[in-house]
Symmetry: C2
Subunit: 127 residues, 2 copies
């Protein structure tokens, strides 16, 4: 998978890395059971420090996207607990929608944005 880091971004490198891997899972570029590159390998590829990658993997592990197999390394393993997933999304959605309402975006505006993004992500499923 192609990973690109914006070194001028406000967002921390390890956070960008997390988000891109999650995006990779969503677009089926990473499948359940697939092995991620080793922390040293990925750090070299991107041109960052090993510990920055390690932090990203640690966060992904805590959030239930990855498990560590002593033999192979970091393996995609998504936690499908719907309760927890909804709780997490709900919290972020609240602040996001507050901003949207302030700007006079209707719920229909949001619905179509959601559909457009879902369509875009699901295009990758048949590949």
């Amino acid at each position: 998978m192609l990973i690109h880091i914006d070194f001028n971004s406000e967002e921390a490198i390890y956070q960008q890395l997390c988000n891109q891997i999650i995006l990779g899972i969503a677009t089926c570029q990473f499948a359940d059971g697939q092995v991620l590159p080793s922390v040293r390998q990925l750090a070299d590829d991107i041109g960052i420090n090993m510990h920055t990658v390690n932090k990203a993997y640690t966060v992904l592990k805590q959030e239930g996207f990855v498990k560590v197999d002593r033999r192979r390394g970091a393996v995609i393993s998504v936690d499908y607990d719907k309760q927890r997933a909804e709780a997490g999304v709900d919290k972020e959605l609240r602040t996001l929608l507050a901003e949207a309402i302030c700007r006079n975006l209707t719920r229909e505006d949001i619905h179509s944005m959601v559909d457009r993004i879902y369509d875009e992500y699901e295009r990758y499923i048949d590949s």
Copy 2:
């Protein structure tokens, strides 16, 4: 408006403050043209430093939620540029929905969450 800061949160104080004021605007507890408490007043009320409040106001100003009237202070003044609003929401929505898709949440799940939050926020409009 009642503002509550969680001092044990990961989220920065000034960021929580921004979010709560935006939430206040969304739920019509702050109306366009209304004056926010002065930085010193609000800092005293919450029990934090003046500069922390000032940073929150500065961010809100840059993001187009507030303008500063030399006579009165910080005044609610929402920028309704729909293009910019959608661009901002879209960016955040992308990372949020990537996580949702990973967890097997359908677009219908998201739609109903959006509706529920919109319903909740709009309850406050008639008050």
